[in-house]
Subunit: 116 residues, 4 copies
Amino acid sequence: MNDSLQDIRARLAAFAQERDWDQFHTPKNLAMALSVEVAELVEHYQWLPTGADMELDDAKRAGIRHELADVLMYLVRLADKSGVDLHAAVLEKMVLNAEKYPVEQVRGDARKYSDY
Amino acid sequence: MNDSLQDIRARLAAFAQERDWDQFHTPKNLAMALSVEVAELVEHYQWLPTGADMELDDAKRAGIRHELADVLMYLVRLADKSGVDLHAAVLEKMVLNAEKYPVEQVRGDARKYSDY
Amino acid sequence: MNDSLQDIRARLAAFAQERDWDQFHTPKNLAMALSVEVAELVEHYQWLPTGADMELDDAKRAGIRHELADVLMYLVRLADKSGVDLHAAVLEKMVLNAEKYPVEQVRGDARKYSDY
Amino acid sequence: MNDSLQDIRARLAAFAQERDWDQFHTPKNLAMALSVEVAELVEHYQWLPTGADMELDDAKRAGIRHELADVLMYLVRLADKSGVDLHAAVLEKMVLNAEKYPVEQVRGDARKYSDY
């Protein structure tokens, strides 16, 4: 069984190639498309108190699920076009985050690290 | 070796729990934070012609890599808090997309399916 | 005394011309820059309960004020480059909105008109 | 004749009050809604080369015009709810921008001031 991010990357590359869409998939265009998909996700939450499950009905749950998928697809496509291994990049960034937000210092506090 | 998305999900859940951040991580707040990270990614491309590799220097490449990681982290966290399996959701959405954008109809054309 | 939107439009056009920035100010680039500024505004609110004044300190108030200005500047610049009179466009859109959201039907309800 | 920003502010306040929508119009929610409207604007440009007028048809021109209006409406509403005079805030910010981007230093160069 393939790794999930690798599987999605390969499927999207094939999908775009079959449709001759590579010409449109510049990093700049993909970043814009990604931001549009994120906004469609944000739209589901904008008038809700917290977005917790009990605030949602089935239509909204399905919409959120699909928008989450759309966001991941554009993100994986942009990373692919930028030569970035997303899993490795996350592991690298989490080391930096652990240094920026030491447990003993930030426990229960959501202020940005730069505020410290 | 663990699946990449499962691995990231587990690491982020532990990271938030250690810092007692679950209280801030409502779906609504995570969706907002996700949109902020995507904009930090978009910012790298806003004045570039296409964002292709030859338009970037090493600092910009590293910045893009880190922002891609930040976006994925908030996305995985939001999916986790929403009970959504991202890999399954993508596979499901790709079936719908294949129906909306039939190869013979959209080849080389980036208009939205709704324009057809 | 000049109209506020006209005054801002004229000042920004002069500012860009003095710096020879018109070449970068395509509608596409300005729309991206606008989205980045909006995210910097959103960032101020992402971990706050509602963003009401009592949740803010002076630094945050000043930051919000500056980001609101940045958003308006890119919006006015994009409208200018697109030949759109913003005041007229708003009056036009408000007529449509009044039809979409009749008072007696939507009072106290924030669902999107399409949900009705 | 009223100033454009003041006129829009007053019309929107009346529109919301008639519909009892003030309860939903927290700064946090309005900032989210603003970001969603900006993305609907960005969507028009995402696959276009520059968004210049000759790349648009009449439907797209009308769509852009309406989205520009939507963005301004949420921006004015958020400023109103935050007690910010947008015109004054822009004048204030433009003084800071003139210091950050001196004409002789940035002419024809779009890099961020922080890159200097």
